[in-house]
Symmetry: C2
Subunit: 566 residues, 2 copies
């Protein structure tokens, strides 16, 4: 079904030609994880294949990971959510002797380009946020059963779980040795979660984060680095006990049938990607692409039974999975395509009918998971380092759930036809815009847009169910500009030409700041604060210069630092 | 009085030998500002001397600024606070024809080292925060009377004011052209203040920040970029009217006599600085320094009259001014000294007596300003990119206000003598620790330390007025470690050796994250999010490479970008 991936230069891990990264996988193809089920408990065991690196040049020793390992972890969490609604606790542990996980593979990091490192960290952060999202919204709880050394990204993985139980065997420790060993930060949420989530006192955290050997046993518990410790003889009992207790916090159904997630089908051509509901057309000369999301082709049968029967083919889910795959693919494999022009097309009524279903059956586990999939997909868009312009013209269908994409855009242009023409573009809000898809700062995109101004939001609520012409949309503040037919083409063209001429780095920094004004949560702090510092460090000679700490690691040479504090 | 500043290589603006930066100035020495007073109104006029750059190699055209211009601005705000208690509004405007301020000098930025740029931005951010701190706590209000073009850092300066009035002359605009012109961010709070303070909608902000020509007239007001506009003929009337109205929000005394701020006296030797209450001893081989703050030498007369008579010589104020100058000097002129070991010495009773005065007379304008000076000095410590360890031994005096320095430290070591020895070190909390010196996130350092845990804070409150031995301090969570006499020397030495061996960049990023867990405000977002992104961009080839936007600006060459989005 898929066109063979082209080989091309960018975005290589090392310089040279590398195959495209494919984010689609399934348990039968896992090389690094073992996923098994026992009633309400899932067991997710890390068993990284040393020779299974996504790129050549490094071995994944000691349960260290690269992007390929994390793609499988992301897939496993998705499958637990959709295919195993009976699962109430996920025990995450390791098959390896005395090693839970030693974190991101350092040799991989040492070989990686700056862009690869940053993109790798973004995806791993999203995956860890995704575990917490699962716990928060759909309630399988996660326990890290730390049965051996747990270092760096390994501990960051444990931090993403609801509870951490550390084996008390006089040797197994949790540690964040990035600063002393590698001259970089524990950047996959580590620094943020030890403060924000675990409330480790900042001075103890300072000691912890500068200690290569980490902290074990009672001290790890006293410092709040783990929730509990257990001697090897009783470790399994303790995990079982905690799993049962956490399961009681979950409201997942015991007897629902899971929904299988088939491999997302797509046709990948050199300059286009075709999914069923999502199309991407790349214009390489102008370094932009058109991404079009289509409405459902018919108004779907309204019964819950029919929805469950449709399963992964249900439009809201299939659309979100396709859009998510497109975002991941483009982010990783098309770094030079800096402007994404987002379009929608199709029957507004069909979208709104599905929005009504999302609302009506929001308490059903599968509908809840589908809402979650859409929420995470839009959240991925929010932290994507590409300019996003939404273009609303006569063929558009920016209503309800699909209008959320326009709200996520940096700008929204809407063609202003005459108000009495039936062909003039319209937009429409639906209830899901007011709560079903919160950003990672916990706000709806309307709340974020209007900085929680209650008057502005109430005016939008009053417009619920109304098909809004550009002039009304503009006066409500829902769009950026409303050129008329005479100006439309020229104005869009100029805006795009201007945008694609600007420094990609400055745009990345600007968009990351403007999209997340005022309101912070642990998740926004991971992307906006921790990642920004890490990205800075990732390009400093002290880390990546010829004698930088990341480069010389494992080669027997000592790093050489410029001692200036900046 | 001062030893002649040594000439040495670092921290040069350009490579080569440069004199030290001196942050001490006074109005008679201003080259770039005119400060005048008319009753309750101060007029602060920008009139930058083209040839008055702090470093050679660039001209300060069009009211552009460098660090030297900002040092004067910082001084002016201090003098308004202390020397002119009658001032209720500060009108900030320009003497230049048709130019309010064109922002940070681009040629200066193009010539600067990475460290210089970062340090320059930190100080300018602190100065703008200081204007808002003045407005919030001691209530002179600021009006930006924007009487001409207001670009980049010029608009960021206006954003730090309480109100912005823009002349509506069909040409004067406000703009943030950093992204399109220079490939960097509006990093002196610009991106943060347009969202957090002014609540400019993110998509309009996106348009605004990518437009070199900016926005003027009614649109500037509609987009919330300015508070009001006024035609040239009525501009002065409008400013007068707004100044009078804002003055009514201020509670500053009409008839109090100001307190003169004499030049801070210090003796600067190659490896030491001596102030009256602050001493610095630099150990260059070990890249560390000892900073010692001394308690007052006697318990001060308790009357308000005596305090006002002492004025700038009053211990709390003089100590804070000296400490502030030391921080600024060391940050800018000693970038390789990465570890600051903080000591205190003297009579605990004298410090506590002053703390009681700070509390008793907190409503007096001068005491309020003194508290503010201490608050800002400690806040400067919080964002200083140096490791800070507080060392509490037998000669220490870490009580009350001085214990706040230990709370600001990354770690605190306290010698654990036997509890019954009168020479064992003690610490003591006083009321000011519970509210007088909030961090820039609005929390006390105790609230931050315990993540607002009410039980932990209540236990500290119960210990008010008690002289605490190390074991008690440790059990309350007030110190990091309490080695006994046998271990003390060795443990401190190892901690320091370990620290000075680590990557300076990784430490900067780690400390910036751990010191500011969980709680964010506009100010923390400026330092933690915006500055981190800016620092990343400041070192990217797209900005500072041979053909980077910052390097080629004004040379007629187009910038050349790597188009990869990261």
């Amino acid at each position: 079904m898929n066109a063979p991936p082209r080989l091309r230069e960018s975005p290589s891990l090392v310089s040279g030609t590398q195959p495209l990264v494919d984010f689609r996988t399934e348990p039968s193809r896992y090389r690094h994880w073992r996923l098994s089920f026992d009633g309400a408990q899932a067991l997710l065991l890390m068993d990284v294949a040393e020779d299974g690196g996504l790129r050549p040049g490094y071995k994944l020793k000691l349960n260290s990971y690269d992007l390929g390992v994390d793609i499988e972890l992301h897939d496993a969490v998705q499958r637990i959510r959709f295919e195993h609604p009976e699962v109430r606790t996920v025990v995450l542990s390791s098959v390896k002797e005395r090693i839970f996980c030693s974190g991101a593979n350092i040799f991989m990091l040492g070989l990686s380009s700056h862009a690869w490192k940053v993109n790798f960290c973004k995806f791993t952060n999203e995956t860890r946020n995704g575990m917490e999202d699962a716990s928060r919204y759909s309630s399988p709880k996660f326990i890290a059963a730390v049965n051996g050394a747990c270092a760096g990204g390994g501990y960051e993985l444990a931090l993403a779980c609801d509870e951490i139980v550390l084996v008390d065997d006089r040797s197994s420790a949790v540690s964040l040795p990035e600063v002393p060993l590698l001259g970089v930060l524990p950047g996959t949420g580590g620094l943020t979660r030890i403060t924000d989530k675990r409330k480790v006192r900042h001075d103890l955290a300072d000691v912890f984060c500068t200690t290569t050997e980490g902290v074990r046993g009672q001290r790890a518990k006293d410092w709040r680095l783990v929730d509990d410790i257990a001697k090897p003889a009783v470790f399994q009992d303790k995990i079982r006990e905690r799993a049962q207790e956490l399961a009681m916090l979950s409201d997942r159904p015991a007897d629902a049938a899971g929904i299988a997630l088939p491999t997302i089908e797509r046709r990948l051509d050199p300059d286009s990607i075709q999914y069923k509901h999502v199309q991407v057309q790349i214009d390489r000369d102008r370094r932009l692409l058109h991404l079009t999301v289509s409405a459902p082709q018919e108004i779907f049968d309204q019964s819950l039974e029919a929805i469950l029967k449709a399963g992964a083919a249900w439009w809201p889910l299939q659309m979100a999975r396709e859009l998510d795959d497109a975002i991941l693919h483009l982010r990783t494999n098309e770094p030079e395509i800096g402007v994404w022009l987002v379009h929608t097309q199709g029957d507004a009524k069909a979208v709104l009918a599905h929005d009504a279903l999302l609302e009506k059956f929001a308490n059903n586990w599968f509908v809840r998971e589908t809402i979650g999939m859409i929420r995470r997909t839009f959240a991925r868009l929010d932290v994507t380092s590409r300019t996003i312009f939404a273009l609303i013209d006569a063929s558009s269908c920016f209503v309800g759930t699909l209008f959320e994409v326009a709200l996520a855009a940096d700008r929204t242009y809407m063609l202003s036809g005459s108000a009495d023409q039936s062909t003039s573009p319209r937009i429409e809000l639906s209830n899901p815009n007011f709560g079903q898809f919160p950003m990672i700062n916990g706000l709806t995109r309307l709340e974020q847009r209007f900085y929680r101004d209650e008057v502005a939001i109430a005016l939008c609520r009053d417009a619920l169910g109304q098909s809004l012409h550009a002039s009304v949309a503009e006066s409500l503040g829902l769009i950026t500009a409303a050129p008329d037919e005479l100006d439309w083409e020229n104005e869009i063209r100029l805006a795009i030409e201007e945008r694609t001429s600007l420094s990609p780095d400055a745009l990345t920094g600007m968009e990351a700041n403007l999209r997340f004004g005022v309101y912070e949560t642990m998740e926004t702090r991971v992307f906006g604060r921790l990642s920004a510092w890490q990205n800075w460090i990732f390009i400093r000679p002290n880390a990546v210069g010829d004698r930088g700490a990341l480069k010389v690691y494992g080669k027997g040479d000592a790093a050489s630092f410029d001692w200036q504090r900046v």
